[in-house]
Symmetry: C2
């Protein structure tokens, strides 16, 4: 693309470095900002700079937080003996929105992925092992996505904690509520049969 303005070109280049945003979309977004009042761009820039410079991660669960301990870890009503292991803040938000989990979280910050150069040392795994070792955790729920990387990460952690006296579980995989059986993929349907639950339990749920 041949720009008539270096300033515009520079802005488009920076915006198009964001994932999933190409040059055309970036140009559309920047032209939108140019049509809006100056304040819009000012607030956007300031908000991005502030979150990047000032955001903290909770000392205990490593979730994104404005305080040293996040609101969930600080909440005396949550049960610190049950810890749910997740990849990032989006998973915490998704589980919190169900209002079904009353324990604490442990945010790994990613999954083990040799292709992307992410090893166990890049994730918050050591601090999880320490938590388990200290005896404060009684049950660990693995809630990583069921991909190759997720399974690898689960297994890596499991191997390190199996020597401790702790219950481990993983979230149930199966047919989504409301889904038709005939359209489900074979792996999911297969797992939902193998891991079937007592009928009495399902009607309580």
């Amino acid at each position: 693309m041949d720009f008539s303005s270096k300033l515009l070109e520079n802005a488009v280049n920076e915006v198009s470095r964001l994932p999933g945003i190409g040059k055309r979309t970036a140009l559309r977004l920047v032209l939108h900002l140019l049509k809006q009042p100056t304040d819009h761009t000012k607030y956007l820039s300031e908000a991005l700079l502030q979150v990047r410079n000032d955001v903290k991660t909770c000392k205990k669960c490593h979730n994104i937080s404005d305080t040293i301990l996040c609101a969930i870890c600080q909440n005396p009503k949550r049960n610190p003996e049950i810890v749910c292991v997740v990849e990032d803040i989006r998973d915490v938000m998704a589980i919190e929105s169900t209002a079904q989990f009353k324990g604490l979280y442990h945010v790994l910050g990613g999954k083990i992925s040799p292709i992307e150069g992410i090893g166990p040392q890049n994730l918050q795994i050591d601090s999880l092992i320490n938590k388990v070792e200290s005896g404060e955790v009684k049950e660990l729920i693995f809630a990583l996505s069921s991909t190759m990387e997720g399974d690898t990460t689960n297994f890596y952690i499991y191997k390190q904690i199996e020597k401790f006296d702790i219950t481990t579980s993983t979230i149930a995989r199966g047919i989504a509520v409301g889904d038709e059986l005939e359209y489900a993929d074979e792996v999911t349907l297969g797992r939902s049969i193998v891991n079937r639950i007592p009928f009495e339990q399902s009607i309580r749920g």
Copy 2:
């Protein structure tokens, strides 16, 4: 969405004010920035602020430019007697990339759209009429998109300049080069038959 951090929530809200970007996409973009070096966010914010605060529009054609007169209007090899009327900078970039046009542009900055509250007074129409009135323009090419708004804008301008001794034209509409006839919409195909051109002319192009 329930955020664990006000800073994060604020940034996501600002990003999701951009057109076509929802809360989920905004969260993904902000989390991406948090994983990148601080410099990335700094350069992005600075580039946006700079383009918003310092960008100019060319005094003559109203295209986005870093200088008072844009590079196209300054170029002595371009023919100032032929002016192509376009909506915004993206159209200028698209036509320039064909290398088929050697005249100058006139960027309206939008189309007449009562629904969006855009009237003739919000566009660079008066300066176009002045240009035509001064006699420096011999041919005006309408290159607005062929929508209701585009046609209205074309007609509005045409009505004001028809009293002057000037040639007007509009870019050819028809079947795109390489397209199959059977998949073309009826309006386009109809126009391409009505506005057929001599065969000799087509093999020259």
